[in-house]
Assembly symmetry: C2
Homo-oligomer: 283 residues x 2
């Protein structure tokens, strides 16, 4: 299998769905969209992000597409599959952009028609703004694209979704099991968002904006957060997120103790470890 | 008083001292340096950052300067004043770049000769690299310069140090008492460095570097940290830092609880507050 010549349907035309559409149109694909708002369709048509779109999916429309990309909130994605999978073309390949996998991929695969295949993926890119009007496929450049196959997936389908990631412009394409993905994302993404929210809300800092340097600004950039989406993602990955929160809160308590007793050696040891590890993350 | 025509001595030629020297030379000032390493002097002379320098300060050398800027570790600064203030020109104006004020400004003012005046200042700029070889006065552009006067300072001297901040290229010049400064810095800078170190050391994340997005990278940029300097600054501001750590750790425990019991409303409330507040910090 190969992507070449395939027709691609984006379900959910927000920031990520719109950016997928833009990237795929630029690469010459025929791109359709299903979304809730007529205005989003009109905007995307006018900007040339899609070839056609609808807010009322039917078999005529949905049945034309070989690949379907779901860029929806997790519960909306699951409901869409339950309600509309009978519209999908036989043999089509499905993928998604959902930020948690353990509680999504298995459920979709279980309820899916046997002639369809779903390979989960997580494009690790985003911005602190929302909606198709902010779509910008440059956010994928240099970013990570993680494919989360299960034993029920075929190698051919996995390869095709990896090709999709490369076509979108992602730099690093990798595979993780849904469980490993969720542990990783619980730490690297969900915990960091919790920290940014915690830092921003633990004290009334409004009067401090005149004094802040880059460090506070960097740590709280992601404190601007879509509360509906992230609260859902947090609770869908509850056990992993709690483990990561416990690790972090425990470490902060250790640092507090070292400050309280004036243990300069312990502080310096942690700072040296931190400095050494951080060097691995430089771009 | 005005800076015009004054001779300026930098004591301590590291990243910040070297960047001060570069900025002041560009503005046409005569700039001297005292530091521990001959190599730093040679480098600064060769690059035109200073007019002259010495590693053995004497009255002939030090006594020529009208303004002295101390860019030293806090304990080294206090010792330098105790050992060498007899070398300073009568009527000279002293300032510093130290990151904590409550435990430094008062001590210096108490021990200082009555004909000298010290006005504390904190240039809120820096990089994750060290030494005069990394000096770069562009780091001051757009940054905050905080002057921390006490009742013992004259308005004329405070104005002169504020003029120094503007001359260096800082955008916002403000005044805070040493105590208000330390509360603010305990939160905006020291707590954020603790968080970055805590996040980087709470889990062995080396295998995760392939998957990380920008959020983890942003939160840990300052996890590369000069352990000698920061451990000293933390412990010199111990009470404030502990208060700020307690606020933050308490808030993280609240977030953990909301995740544990699945309290989506509480999570969303915190996220909306965080989003609203963060908007004030956009540049």
């Amino acid at each position: 299998m190969s992507l070449k010549g395939k027709k691609i349907l984006i379900v959910g035309l927000g920031l990520i769905g719109g950016s997928y559409a833009e990237a795929l149109k630029r690469e010459g694909f025929e791109v359709g969209a299903v979304t809730r708002s007529r205005e989003s369709i009109d905007y995307a048509l006018q900007k040339g992000l899609i070839d056609c779109g609808t807010i009322s999916p039917d078999a005529d429309f949905v049945g034309r597409y070989d690949i379907l990309v779901f860029a929806l909130y997790p519960h909306v994605f699951l409901k869409w599959i339950a309600d509309n999978q009978h519209l999908i073309k036989p043999g089509a390949l499905l993928t998604d952009v959902t930020g948690v996998k353990g509680s999504v991929v298995g459920k979709v695969q279980e309820m899916l028609r046997p002639d369809l295949e779903f390979v989960g993926a997580h494009p690790m890119a985003g911005r602190e703004v929302y909606g198709v009007r902010n779509a910008d496929c440059r956010i994928f450049k240099g970013a990570n694209f993680i494919v989360t196959p299960t034993p029920s997936n075929s190698e051919a389908a996995i390869l095709e979704i990896e090709e999709l990631g490369r076509t979108l412009g992602f730099e690093r394409i990798s595979r993780l099991s849904p469980e490993k993905h969720d542990e990783m994302i619980g730490f690297l993404s969900q915990l960091t968002h919790c920290i940014a929210v915690g830092l921003m809300t633990c004290k009334d800092v409004r009067h401090m904006s005149a004094y802040t340097g880059d460090s506070f600004r960097d740590l709280t950039r992601i404190a601007r957060i879509n509360d509906e989406m992230w609260s859902e993602l947090f609770l869908l990955n509850k056990d992993e997120l709690l483990s990561q929160l416990d690790l972090f809160i425990g470490q902060m308590a250790d640092i507090r103790e070292a400050v309280a007793v004036g243990d300069s050696q312990r502080l310096r040891e942690l700072m040296r470890l931190s400095t050494e590890r951080r060097a691995l993350f430089d771009k």
